[in-house]
Symmetry: C2
């Protein structure tokens, strides 16, 4: 046999196989734990170890008394996982800011081309709320939301997933960065102008205006945002 494969790996591979073959689609009920155990010649505990792995990846959900079902809502789990891995890797600050700019710049290009009327309406609403916000806490909230919605409006799932993971990973870092930028600029006016340019550029499909806003935004980050 020469089976170096662990028992639980058999289970994971079997489920993956069924998914890839299309025999399991979202909503499908998996074979019961007992029947999987019998089929793969492993114990039920090993089956459970394998199913747990898939469950934690967001690929299936378990319902006690009913069964295990293919779920396919891994966005959340994926985000969680990516952030934790980035944390473990301990990536340098320079790379972090660089990557954020890369994602946002790419998203902006897509969004200017592709934003729907609904996207535009939402962005305008957020800009308005940011404008009327009275506390720094509120401004931080809508600042974040504007950036997030620009990425969402790119309608590119790769960009969206990466951005979500990144933001989750960097949340605290970004908050303190905004603080330093606002302090450096003495008030938020200049910063808000950059948001306005980004959004108006999207509304008018004017890439140059949007990019000018983004470059200004990250220019301030470079100028005032660094930690030391």
């Amino acid at each position: 046999m020469a089976e170096n494969e662990k028992a639980y790996e058999k289970v994971v591979e079997r489920i993956k196989q069924l998914v890839v073959e299309g025999k399991l689609v979202p909503g499908s009920r998996l074979p019961t734990e007992r029947s999987l155990a019998e089929e793969l010649n492993v114990s039920r505990n090993s089956v459970r170890e394998g199913l747990r792995v898939m469950q934690n990846m967001g690929i299936l959900s378990s319902q006690q008394g009913s069964g295990n079902y293919i779920a396919l809502n891994f966005d959340q789990k994926m985000t969680e996982l990516l952030s934790f891995m980035y944390f473990l890797k301990g990536i340098e600050e320079e790379q972090v800011t660089e990557f954020r700019l890369i994602i946002e710049e790419a998203a902006l290009r897509c969004t200017v081309k592709r934003a729907t009327p609904e996207d535009k309406k939402e962005l305008l609403a957020l800009l308005d709320r940011l404008d009327k916000a009275r506390s720094e806490e509120e401004r931080l909230k809508y600042d974040k939301k504007i950036h997030e919605n620009i990425v969402l409006a790119s309608h590119n799932d790769f960009l969206i997933t990466n951005y979500n993971a990144f933001i989750r990973f960097m949340d605290k870092h970004i908050e303190s960065m905004r603080e330093r930028v606002v302090r450096g600029l003495e008030d938020n006016h200049k910063l808000e102008v950059t948001h306005r340019e980004m959004v108006y550029g999207i509304l008018q499909s004017d890439l140059r205006l949007s990019m000018h806003g983004l470059e200004g935004h990250f220019g301030y980050i470079e100028q005032y945002g660094s930690q030391d």
Copy 2:
């Protein structure tokens, strides 16, 4: 109690906590399964379910007879996971090509600024081998390697991880795409010129030249590479 948290989730959270607190760093040995079980008031089976989840995420590795350890190299598992998730998401072809261009364009910008003499030497060597390659199989190999090394030379871990996952996920797709492009262009000469421009641009820190090569490359993909 009203504990909705499942037993294995306790374990995952505990390990994460230890990592975040810095009590576990890459290479550390975890508490034994039995001691974790006792500490968290769960059975050893539940502990194992939790550890399996972490193991499959690439966060830890198990050695029979020795113990469980926080992993040193997450990259491989991370790549594998990302690829599978991308597969499951079933992302549209348009988004795929778009994302690839985004990553490679961003990497090129970084690499032109940041490539080390070793990076440049390696790229030049690969270009030479691509030039001298006699079979289409060999050309495909060095084509891939040049793109990969350009990303590696960006020295941005986010970009590198994403590219690796992406390539793994899209490997077959990219191979057949190159085939169609070469057939469309009738020979590889034009395609090789784009590689040459990218690499020479990096050697001479000439972003414009590099970008011209990349744009040409993806232009051919857009023109001939689509599936239908």
